[in-house]
Amino acid sequence: MYNIQKAVSRLKFAPKLKEIQVTDITKGIGVFTPQPDKPVSFALLQTALKQAGYTLATAEINVVGTLLREDKDWWLVADRTGQRFALAGPLLEKLLVGVAPDARVEISGGWQTVKTGATETRETIAPRELKKIEAAPKATTGRIMPAAATSTAQFFMPARFAFTVPYTPAAAVPLSAAAAPIRTTSPGLTVYKGGAVIPRLSFVRQHLGALVVNRQQLNVSLTYTPTSTLQLEAEVPFSRTSFADGITSGAGHGLGNVTLWGKYRFYRRVKTYGDRQAAVRFGVELPTGKKTGPSRQRLAAPDFVRAQLTPINGGLAPIGELTYAQAVKRLVFGGNVAGVWRTERAGFRTGHEVRVNTDTELVVFPFKYRRPVKELFALLETNFVRRGRGRSNGRTVSDSSATEYYLSPGLQYVATPQLVIEASAQLPVVRNTGAQLLRTDRSILFALHYLF
């Protein structure tokens, strides 16, 4: 923050260092009121920040002045400095309806410096808002601007810089979370003989500062169990991701990384009203997913953040899991410990992961068990994830590790011996995440299990 203040304070039109406010350190949004008698320049502001290592994406300005029309061009002549701002933009004509050509107005909008010649430039505003200001009382010598009005020629600059942590990570606000939320529905559910098709639809909301991301993710999993101890599974994810940060928005969709699984149940002990079983599960996430996210022009955010808007977390990723499940009367308990080793794809990967998941299921009804249908289970999953630092463009991203803990209450209904319906919500409990990871706010999941 201090570096931004120091860089901007070097400008002739800037106020004192302490009067330059950085209102959102993680997004790099700053506000300052320039000295009222000094002309301003977007280009100089951009250069000053560049020298300090920051990239200025956009700026807005608010100017009080008098409109001026020359031929077809509109100008705003600022009070006190007399600096002329060219007015342009899609909303200009609409905003100027009913406004006199020499009216006093207050205009807010996007600010740019435009080259008009080899060495000449001019400041332009793309007006977003225009307010008429009552004319000052006329004196015999002409119009007199009230002093107070001229001194309120206030500029403010919500500027988005392409960085997230400008100084020390220890001082930064923790901001992020899992690139893709972690769901392990029924981790204790081990091996059923036969096959199953399980489509899972999840609605996930994430954010990073003002950047809000919504994902709709469909995971279709096909399992086949050739023997009572071995299960094979293929999981195909497809996701649609939309984002908006108050300035820009967009959406994309694509295939995620297909995962192949093999599970071997090495232990089972059956009792009269319950059983215990344990299994190992190995998987490999294949680099099949779409790897292109929104461009830097589309979304002014670091590469690592933009890469998280793709449906993938990286490239080839081996996964190992140890699962244990135990059923005692009306209660089923399962848990697993998993490790994911990620490799880079297109120069990007999120961190390696260790997960500890538990799943507790209670048979709500029937009260008297007759056969395995029309059963309603109340579920409570817990998901703990420790994620290391990710990589982007061949470099380790310093603020990309995370420790997260989620609770997921839900319901599961066994409608027929072939059909199971499930719904659950994932709620964050602990989100101690680095400043460059999207932060998961909630995740709602619907699933169907069709067994054959």
Binding site: Y2, N3, K6, A7, R10, K50, Q51, A52, G53, Y54, F163, V165, P166, Y167, T168, P169, A170, A171, R395, T396, S398, D399
Partner: protein, 158 residues
């Protein structure tokens, strides 16, 4: 006579005030990227700039080309810049970055505690100016601007 005495008193008073303000630099011994121990006392008699930086800090990266330039230009006049990394540090990243920028001055591995020897501020980069006598003359928060170098470092090199 009385005017001369008065002038001498003023000079002595000013000198004592200056001496009392100048803080002695602590004895610092850190390892460089090759594991060798480097002591601040090794540079006694030179004007030392201790520059605390990190590869993940954009302003630190932005100011380093200037530091490299100043070391080349004023090294013969007694300037010695010493880069001290601030955690978290990945040694490979530091090596890659310093090689890319052709950093000619020593880079030492620091800790948070190293920085707090000079200031409690969390700002990075941070540069400590130490004169030839080993006294801390200034602690510059943020990028060391060319005007700050000209105003606070160059006079010490004369």
């Amino acid at each position: 006579m009385s005017r001369t005495m008065l002038a001498m008193c003023c000079v002595l008073l000013c000198a004592s005030v200056t001496l009392s303000q100048a803080k002695r630099a602590p004895a610092l011994a850190l390892t460089d990227l090759h594991g060798r121990t480097v002591r601040l006392s090794d540079y006694k008699g030179r004007v030392v700039l201790l520059n605390f930086w990190a590869t993940w800090c954009p302003p630190c990266r932005a100011e380093m080309p200037d530091l490299v330039k100043w070391q080349r230009r004023y090294g013969r006049k007694g300037l010695q810049i010493i880069g001290i990394t601030y955690p978290p540090t990945v040694r490979a990243d530091v090596r890659r970055f310093t090689r890319k920028l052709r950093v000619t001055y020593p880079i030492l591995r620091g800790t948070r505690a190293t920085k707090t020897l000079f200031t409690a501020s969390e700002t990075l980069p941070m540069t400590v100016i130490i004169d030839r006598a080993g006294n801390i003359r200034a602690v510059i928060e943020g990028i060391l601007l060319p005007e700050e170098f000209a105003g606070q470092v160059r006079p010490l090199l004369r």
